[in-house]
C-alpha cells in the first residue's frame, strides 16, 4: 500500500475525551457539539439512557455526573472530560440488581419502562442523601421526571420499599399496593 501524500494537514473534527463511565475509564471521540445523551447512546452504545424531548423537559435522560443527577440532553459531551458518569447500566452490581431496581420490578413501578432509568438514578441520589425519605421528599426529588403510565404511585411505593430494605429492614410491599384496598 502506497502512503498517501498529505497535501494539507486536515484538522480532525472530532473531540476526543477521557472520562469514567460506570466505574470504567473510557476514551471516546465524537462531533464536538454532541450532547452527553448522544455520546452515551450513539458513541458508547449505552442505550439504557432514554430521551423523551431532548430539551431538558421530561427527565427521561437523567444520569449521574459525579454522583448528582444531570439531564444528559442538556450537557455537552466535551464538558465531561475527566468526570464520572453513572447510567442505569451502572446501577447493577454484576448480576445483582440494586434494591431500587428490585423494588421497581416487584411493584410494577416500570410499566412501559421508558422513564424508569432516569427515575431510578434520581431516586438513588435521594436515598443516598435521605435514607428514609417521606412521601413529600420523594415527590420533590422526582418532580422533574415525567411518567405517563403509572401516576407515580407505584414509583413512590417502590422507592419507599427500597429505602426500607437499604436501611436494613426486611420490608415487604403493603397489601394495598398489591391487591388494592379492601
Amino acid at each position: 500500500m502506497k502512503p498517501i501524500k498529505k497535501k494539507t494537514k486536515a484538522k480532525l473534527e472530532k473531540a476526543h475525551i477521557r472520562l469514567r463511565v460506570n466505574g470504567e475509564q473510557v476514551e471516546v471521540a465524537f462531533a464536538p457539539h454532541k450532547t452527553l445523551l448522544e455520546v452515551l447512546r450513539e458513541d458508547l452504545r449505552l442505550t439504557g439512557t432514554k430521551h423523551g424531548c431532548e430539551l431538558g423537559e421530561c427527565g427521561c435522560c437523567a444520569v449521574l455526573v459525579d454522583g448528582s443527577p444531570v439531564l444528559s440532553c442538556l450537557a455537552l459531551g466535551v464538558a465531561l472530560e475527566g468526570h464520572e458518569v453513572t447510567t442505569v447500566e451502572g446501577m447493577t452490581d454484576g448480576t445483582k440488581l440494586h434494591p431500587l431496581q428490585e423494588a421497581f420490578a416487584e411493584l410494577g413501578a416500570a410499566q412501559c419502562g421508558y422513564c424508569t432509568p432516569g427515575i431510578l438514578l434520581t431516586a438513588k441520589v435521594l436515598l443516598e442523601k435521605v435514607p428514609r425519605p417521606s412521601r413529600d421528599e420523594i415527590k420533590e426529588a422526582l418532580g422533574g421526571n415525567i411518567c405517563r403510565c403509572t401516576g407515580y404511585i407505584k414509583i413512590y411505593e417502590a422507592v419507599e420499599l427500597a429505602a426500607a430494605r437499604l436501611t436494613g429492614e426486611k420490608a415487604e410491599p403493603a397489601e394495598e399496593s398489591i391487591y388494592g384496598w379492601q
Binding site: 421530561c58 427521561c60 403509572t150 404511585i153 391487591y179 384496598w181
Partner: protein, 813 residues
C-alpha cells in the same frame, strides 16, 4: 390477603397472584431495546421536511440541491409514494408525503436519507417548496361555515367528514314519559398521548427482496397490510417487528408516514434507514383525543331514572380521517351501557380542520360523552334532591342484559363499585357538608373489553397463539400482541403457566413479529388480556391434553385424575405418583413427535343487526365508580385534587398489582385531562400548535398527582379468560366528571368545559357572585343538515335488532 380475590377462591396458582412482569427486570436495567435503541451497520438517518403552513397547494417543489448535498443518499417526494393509506378502510386519505396539497402545519412533504442526522437536517433547508395558501379551516364552527375549500374530496359534503344518526326506540315517546327534561351543552378539549418514547422506526431491505421494519407501533398487523399496499410488496416479503413501546395510549395505533418513508428509503438506498421523531414532530403525529362539543338532552323521572336521551356530538377531527369514523361512533354508542336508558337518539358529526389529526386516545371517543352525562346526572340529582351516588346505583345497567342499542352486557357490578367508593371516601359524611372551598364528587362508567369487529372486514380470529414445547421442558409462547407497558407479554406467560402447572418465568414469550408470531390485531380497545388470554388458554389446554395422554398411558392412571401443578404432573389420588413437567414433555414428544399447539379467539356475535351495530359490542364490559375530593381556591380559581377513590370491576385480575397499576395510570391521565392537558392552536390564521413541547403542554407531575385508593371488584365474566375483563381504559372515564362534580360541591359552580383551568373556575365564581348563572362552558350548539336516523326498536319493545322503517304516526310526533 385480599378478601375479594377470586383467585384464592378458585384455587388458582398463578392467576390473581402478584408476580412481577416477565419483562420487569430488563426494564429496570436498561437492557430492553426500544426502536431508537437499535442500530445497524451502514445505517442512514432520515429527517422529514414538514409544512410550515396549515393549508396550501404545493405549486413547486425542487429537491435538486438537497440531492447534491454531500452525505445525502436519497430524497423522497410525494410522487414517489402515490398510494394512499389510513387506519380505516373508509378513510384512506393520507399520503406518506404530501403530493400537491398540505393540510396542516407539520404535514411532511419530503424525506431525506443521509449519513447522519446533522447532514439530513442541513439538507432539509435546501429543498425549495412554493406554497399557494388556501383558506384555513380552524374549528368546528369554521368547518360548518365554509364548505370550500374542501380539505378532502371525500366525505359527506364540504368539510363534513362523517354524519351518523341513530334512534333506538322512539325518543319523543320517552321524553313524553319524563317528569322533567333538561339539555346541557358541554365541551371536552382535545389532548394528546404524550408517551415518553418519541416514535421511531428502523427499516432494512435485504438483497433477497425482503423488508424488515422495527417500529414503535401498537398495531403491527394493520401496519403490515398498509406497508404492503403502499410499497407494492407482497405482505409475505415484509416483516414488521413491533418493538416494546415506551408508552402508547393509542398514539401508536395508526400507520404513520414516517414508517412508510424509511421503508421506501431503505428499498431505494440499500442501506438500513432510521428515523426518530422529535418531540415537536410527535405533536404533529398526534391522533389524540378529539375535541368534542356535545348537547345532551335527557328526560328523567322524580326517582332519577331516565326515560330518554337525545345526545348530539360534533368532533373536530383535524386534517385526516385516521380512526375518526370509529371515534365518531364512540362519542355516543356506549352511552347506554352504564345506566338504564329505554329510548336513545344519537347524532354525531365529524369535521375536517387544518390541525393535527385526532384519533384513538385511552378510552377512544368515550371519555367525552361520559363526561357530558356524568356532570348532567349530578345536576339531575341536585334538582331532584337525591344523593347522586344512590341515584346512580339505583339505575345502573343490570348484569346479563341488552341495552337499547343492542349491546349485550355480561357481568357488571357497578353497584358494588359505588358501594366501595362511597364507603371508602366517607361520602355520606362529606357530600354537601364540607366547608366552602372543599368538595366531593362522584361519577361512574362502563367500558368494553375489546371490540367485536376487526378494523377491516374478515371472519378470521382476532387473536392467535402458538405454543412450542420441546424435550428440554421449555415452553415458548408466540403471539402477535404488542407490549406497550400494559403487561401483555406477562399475561401470556401467566395464562400458560396456570394451565400447564409451571412457573411463569419458565416460559419464554415471543411477541410482536409478523414473521414469527400468529396474528393478533394489536394493543387497542382494551382487547389484549381477554383475546390473547383466551387464545393462550386454548393453546395451553390443547398442549395439556397431549401431555395428559402420554403421562396417563405411562403411569397407568386415568387422564382425568392427572393434575398439572408445581412443575409436575401427578395423580390427584396419589400425589407421589407422577413425574416432572420436563419428563412429561419428553414422553409426549416420544409418543407424538414434535410438539406444538395453537389457540385462537374470535368474539361472539352481537345481537344487533342494523348498519353500524358492529361498533360498540364487546365480549365483556368492565365498570368503574370514582369519588374525587377537591380543594378550590375561590380567589385564584386553582383546583387541587388531594385524593381519588376508585373501584373497578375487572372480572378477575390476572395479576392484581398490574391491574392496580393500570387503574392508577387511568386516574393520572383523567386528572391531567380534567385540569390541564390541552392540544390547542395559536391564532386563527396560521394555526400553529400552541405548545408542542413537554414543558408547556401541561401534564401532571408528582406535584399535581393525587393520592389514589383503588378497589378491585371481581365479578367474573364468562367470556373472559378465568373471568377477566379490562382495566387499562375504562377507569379513566369517571375521573374528569367526578372532579367537575366535586368542584360544584366545593364552590357551587359548574364548569362544563374540559380542561378545568383556573380562569374558567374564576369566571364562573365571578358570574355567580354577580347573580348570574355560576357556570363556564359553551352555550351554542351549531347544527348542520342531518340525514334521517337509522331507526331500531329496542329489546324492551320487542325489537329484533334490525333497523325498521319508521311508522308515519311515530315520526310525526
Amino acid at each position: 390477603m385480599a378478601g375479594n380475590n377470586g383467585a384464592k377462591r378458585n384455587g388458582l396458582r398463578v392467576i390473581g397472584k402478584p408476580f412481577p412482569k416477565v419483562d420487569a427486570k430488563v426494564k429496570c436495567t436498561g437492557e430492553l431495546k426500544y426502536a431508537d435503541d437499535l442500530a445497524l451497520p451502514r445505517m442512514l438517518h432520515t429527517k422529514l421536511l414538514r409544512s410550515p403552513v396549515p393549508h396550501a397547494r404545493i405549486v413547486k417543489i425542487d429537491a435538486s440541491k438537497a440531492e447534491a448535498y454531500p452525505g445525502v443518499k436519497a430524497v423522497l417526494l410525494g410522487k414517489d409514494l402515490p398510494i394512499t393509506f389510513g387506519a380505516l378502510p373508509v378513510s384512506e386519505d393520507e399520503n406518506a408525503l404530501a403530493i400537491d396539497r398540505v393540510r396542516m402545519v407539520g404535514d411532511p412533504v419530503a424525506a431525506i436519507a443521509a449519513v447522519d442526522e446533522d447532514v439530513a437536517t442541513e439538507a432539509l433547508d435546501l429543498i425549495e417548496v412554493e406554497y399557494e395558501p388556501l383558506r384555513v379551516i380552524t374549528s368546528i364552527q369554521d368547518a360548518f361555515a365554509h364548505p370550500e375549500p374542501r380539505i378532502h374530496e371525500y366525505g359527506e359534503f364540504g368539510n363534513i367528514h362523517r354524519r351518523q344518526v341513530y334512534e333506538f326506540g322512539d325518543v319523543e315517546t320517552g321524553f313524553a314519559e319524563a317528569d322533567f327534561v333538561r339539555e346541557d351543552i358541554t365541551f371536552y378539549e382535545g389532548s394528546t398521548h404524550l408517551a415518553l418514547e418519541q416514535h421511531a422506526s428502523l427499516a432494512q431491505f435485504s438483497h433477497d427482496g425482503k423488508l424488515t421494519l422495527w417500529t414503535s407501533t401498537q398495531d403491527m398487523h394493520y401496519l403490515h397490510r398498509h406497508l404492503a399496499k403502499v410499497l407494492g410488496l407482497p405482505a409475505s416479503h415484509i416483516r414488521v417487528i413491533a418493538t416494546p413501546n415506551g408508552g402508547g395510549f393509542g398514539g401508536k395505533c395508526d400507520p404513520f408516514n414516517h414508517e412508510i418513508a424509511v421503508s421506501k428509503l431503505a428499498m431505494i438506498t440499500g442501506h438500513p434507514v432510521k428515523i426518530c421523531l422529535t418531540r415537536e414532530e410527535v405533536f404533529y403525529a398526534h391522533r389524540g383525543r378529539h375535541p368534542v362539543l356535545m348537547s345532551t338532552k335527557t328526560g328523567y323521572k322524580k326517582d332519577g331514572s331516565m326515560t330518554a336521551m337525545h345526545h348530539r356530538t360534533i368532533l373536530d377531527g383535524g386534517a385526516y380521517g385516521g380512526h375518526g369514523v370509529a371515534s365518531t361512533f364512540y362519542t355516543g354508542i356506549l352511552q347506554p351501557t352504564t345506566y338504564k336508558l329505554p329510548h336513545y337518539r344519537f347524532e354525531a358529526v365529524r369535521v375536517f380542520t387544518n390541525k393535527a389529526p385526532c384519533g384513538p386516545k385511552r378510552g377512544h371517543g368515550t371519555p367525552q360523552p361520559r363526561w357530558a352525562q356524568e356532570i348532567q346526572l349530578d345536576r339531575i340529582a341536585d334538582h331532584l334532591g337525591l344523593d347522586p351516588a344512590e341515584m346512580r346505583k339505583a339505575h345502573a345497567v343490570p348484569p346479563n342484559s341488552i341495552t337499547a342499542n343492542w349491546i349485550r352486557i355480561g357481568s357488571l357490578a357497578l353497584g358494588k363499585c359505588i358501594d366501595k367508593v362511597v364507603e371508602g371516601s366517607g361520602w355520606k359524611e362529606k357530600f354537601r357538608k364540607l366547608p366552602h372551598g372543599k368538595g366531593i364528587g362522584i361519577a361512574c362508567s362502563a367500558y368494553m373489553t375489546g371490540t367485536q369487529t376487526p378494523i377491516y372486514w374478515n371472519k378470521l380470529p382476532h387473536s392467535g397463539v402458538q405454543l412450542k414445547l420441546d424435550r428440554s421442558g421449555g415452553v415458548c409462547v408466540f403471539c402477535g400482541s404488542v407490549e406497550i407497558g400494559q403487561g401483555s407479554d406477562s399475561i401470556l406467560a401467566y395464562v400458560v403457566a396456570e394451565v400447564l402447572g409451571i412457573d411463569p418465568f419458565d416460559i419464554r414469550v415471543v411477541t410482536g413479529d409478523t414473521d414469527l408470531t400468529p396474528v393478533d390485531l394489536g394493543s387497542y380497545s382494551s382487547r389484549v388480556t381477554l383475546m390473547t388470554g383466551n387464545a393462550a388458554k386454548q393453546a395451553a389446554e390443547r398442549a395439556r391434553e397431549i401431555l395428559r395422554q402420554a403421562v396417563s398411558e405411562k403411569l397407568e392412571v386415568p387422564g382425568s385424575r392427572l393434575v398439572f401443578a408445581d412443575r409436575r404432573v401427578f395423580d390427584i389420588e396419589n400425589p407421589e405418583k407422577g413425574m416432572s413437567f420436563v419428563d412429561a414433555v419428553w414422553l409426549a414428544e416420544e409418543k407424538f413427535g414434535t410438539l406444538g399447539t395453537t389457540g385462537s379467539y374470535k368474539p361472539p356475535a352481537a345481537p344487533g343487526k342494523y348498519k353500524g351495530s358492529t361498533i360498540g359490542p364487546s365480549p365483556a364490559f368492565s365498570c368503574t365508580a370514582a369519588v374525587a375530593e377537591v380543594e378550590v381556591n375561590p380567589e385564584t380559581g386553582i383546583v387541587t385534587v388531594p385524593k381519588i377513590w376508585i373501584a373497578h370491576d375487572i372480572g378477575q385480575s390476572i395479576n392484581p398489582v398490574l391491574a392496580v397499576g393500570q387503574i392508577e395510570g387511568c386516574v393520572y391521565m383523567g386528572l391531567g385531562e380534567a385540569l390541564m392537558e390541552e392540544m390547542t392552536y395559536r391564532g386563527n390564521v396560521n394555526l400553529v400548535h400552541k405548545f408542542p413541547s413537554f414543558l408547556e403542554y401541561k401534564s401532571p407531575t408528582t406535584h399535581e398527582m393525587c393520592d389514589v385508593i383503588t378497589y378491585l371488584v371481581e365479578e367474573p365474566d364468562s367470556n373472559g379468560p378465568f373471568g377477566a375483563k379490562e382495566a387499562g381504559q375504562g377507569p379513566q372515564l369517571p375521573v374528569p366528571p367526578a372532579i367537575a362534580n366535586a368542584i360544584y360541591d366545593a364552590v357551587g359552580v359548574r364548569i362544563d368545559e374540559i380542561p378545568i383551568t383556573p380562569d374558567k373556575v374564576l369566571k364562573a365564581i365571578r358570574a355567580k357572585a354577580k347573580g348570574q348563572e355560576g357556570r363556564c362552558g359553551p352555550t351554542v350548539f351549531p347544527t348542520c343538515e342531518m340525514p334521517p336516523p337509522i331507526f331500531v326498536r329496542t329489546p324492551f319493545e320487542g325489537g329484533d335488532g334490525k333497523a325498521v322503517e319508521r311508522e308515519p304516526e311515530l315520526s310525526r310526533k
